[in-house]
């Protein structure tokens, strides 16, 4: 029988739909009976979603500025080499 600890161990696989159908079924059965694990799965899922929202708009401005400069310089060099591409 699947214990709470076992469920916690495979919780991410459950969330991502990576379990076999048999494992999936035993997780679902466990969740029906266990309030704590339902809370845990819900919270782990929320934490995962949090990350999607949090990091999607993040950029390293300083790094991007440096890259822009280097790319611009490299593009200029190539153009002045006569290597205009069209």
């Amino acid at each position: 029988m699947l214990m709470c600890r076992d469920l916690a161990d495979i919780a991410s696989d459950y969330i991502d739909g990576e379990l076999t159908s048999r494992q999936n079924l035993s997780v679902k059965m466990h969740l029906m009976m266990c309030k704590h694990c339902r809370t845990f799965i819900g919270n782990l899922r929320a934490s995962t979603d949090l990350l999607k929202v949090h990091s999607s708009g993040r950029e390293n401005e300083e790094l991007i500025r440096k890259i822009d400069e280097r790319v611009a310089e490299a593009l200029r060099e190539r153009k002045s080499d006569g290597g205009t591409r069209e």
Binding site: M3, C4, R5, D6, A8, D9, I10, A11, S12, D13, D16, E18, H36, C37, T39, F40, G42, N43, L44, A46, S47, T48, D49, L50, L51, K52, V53, H54, S55, S56, R58, E59, N60, L63, I64, K66, I67, D68, R70, V71, A72, A74, L75, R78, K79, T84, R85, E86
Partner: protein
């Protein structure tokens, strides 16, 4: 469904990059550099990782001419970064050391009794949506702090999978890890974030 037949929004960006259009480069740099940095950070320390990403963009200017679009632009860029990092590691004779042995976080593992039942169950439900939670600046700052404290390997796996929405097999290819090891990295990282949010909700402290 014939959505696969054409219009590829990336197609025109790629064409502009091939022509050396500087605006296209600005757009692509902004869009793809955070993911490229996440890849590089899997392999290297922060400053070396930033250097590699910068160098990669310069090589992209020429390499893009040969880009045939078999993979997406993002995956292609991430592979370039990964290959460069691996070369660099080889040249300094170092390997990425990662522990894939345990998938349960020790702090969480301690919360079960000998029978495997919850001893210290999660008390609160995170009832707010992710968007609402992130409006809380303190929580957002706390998340930053905890993300940067994650082992590089976990953070990169998490970023590529969640934030940059790569498929598992792409993440495995880029980071050169097996599917089961990716699962371990993802699960370990998520548990850390779970524990952080839980502490934050209970105590208001980071």
């Amino acid at each position: 469904m014939d959505t696969a037949t054409h219009p590829d929004p990336q197609g025109s960006l790629i064409e502009d990059l091939k022509r050396g259009n500087s605006f296209a480069y600005k757009e692509a740099v902004r869009e793809y550099s955070p993911g490229m940095l996440a890849v590089a950070r899997f392999y290297l320390d922060h400053s070396s990782a930033e250097e590699i990403v910068q160098d990669c963009w310069v090589t992209v200017i020429d390499a893009i001419q040969k880009f045939e679009g078999r993979s997406g632009l993002k995956t292609w860029l991430h592979r370039i970064v990964a290959n460069r990092c691996k070369n660099k590691l080889r040249s300094i004779n170092r390997e990425v050391a990662t522990d894939f042995s345990e998938s349960l976080d020790p702090e969480l593992a301690d919360r079960f009794n000998a029978k495997g039942r919850w001893d210290l169950p999660p008390k609160l439900k995170f009832h707010e949506s992710a968007d609402t939670l992130m409006e809380n600046d303190a929580l957002s700052g706390c998340l930053d702090k905890h993300l940067s404290a994650l082992p590089e390997t976990q953070r990169s796996a998490l970023m590529l999978y969640e934030a940059h929405q790569h498929k598992s097999e792409d993440v495995c290819n880029i980071l050169d890890i097996s599917a089961s090891n990716l699962r371990v990295l993802l699960h370990r990282a998520r548990q850390k974030i779970f524990l952080m949010v839980e502490t934050f909700q209970e105590t208001g402290k980071c």
